[in-house]
Amino acid sequence: MKNSIKVERAKKNITQAELAKLAKVSRQTINAMELGKYVPSTVLTLKLAQIFEVEISEIFTLEDSDWV
């Protein structure tokens, strides 16, 4: 799964640490998601969409490898 957390973060002009605080997760988690090393839960996905004020599908997109 691809995500545009970094882009959304840049639009809002907030750091990883600030986003972590808003979403009530650790900074490592934000970093791991941006690097594509961690796929977040539904709850965290919904939180991020709410923080960025966009639809989930604007942040997260499926890749072909997700269907394998």
Binding site: V25, S26, R27, Q28, T29, N31, P40, V43, L44
Partner: protein
């Protein structure tokens, strides 16, 4: 996700404070076979099978025993549990995933070493394997988990 069987974060520090000295004292007293006489007691026991001429077997009773190794063993187990299973500062879903992966890894690694020891270590030397194996699952988990977390912290630190 609310129930996770973990201790509050503050217990991790308490765990380390107890674990480090008891592990060092435990190791030293084990190696030098140190048993101070003031800790000799008659203690209640079950499944008694005395290793002596009388060949005494009892279901319940008392035995004379030096309780230093019992005290240290219990301290090491409880403090390792606190270190291993206290929450991180922010215990979120990703940290929980790493916790689980580290636990699986530690169990595999521990039993891998045990199988290896079964095949190569015999007689009295195997007693040492059994003694250490009582504590190594937790020890391997603690090492692996904290190593993974610190790797993440470093990687997140470089990002900004």
């Amino acid at each position: 996700m609310k129930l996770n069987f973990l201790f509050p974060n503050e217990f991790k520090k308490i765990g380390w404070i107890i674990l480090i000295p008891s592990a060092i004292i435990g190791l030293v007293t084990l190696i030098y076979n140190y048993e101070p006489t003031f800790l000799d007691f008659n203690v209640p026991a079950i499944f008694i099978d005395k290793f002596s001429l009388s060949d005494e077997k009892q279901l319940f009773g008392t035995v004379s025993n030096n309780i230093l190794n019992e005290i240290l063993g219990i301290l090491i187990i409880i403090s390792s549990l606190l270190v291993a299973f206290s929450k991180e500062n922010v215990e979120d879903e990703y940290i929980s995933k790493i916790r689980l992966e580290s636990l699986v890894w530690a169990v595999y690694f521990n039993y891998g070493i045990l199988i290896f020891s079964f095949l190569l270590i015999y007689d009295f030397s195997f007693l040492w394997v059994m003694i250490f194996n009582m504590f190594t699952v937790l020890l391997f988990f603690i090492i692996r988990f904290n190593w993974q977390i610190s790797k993440l912290k470093i990687s997140a630190y470089h990002e900004e």
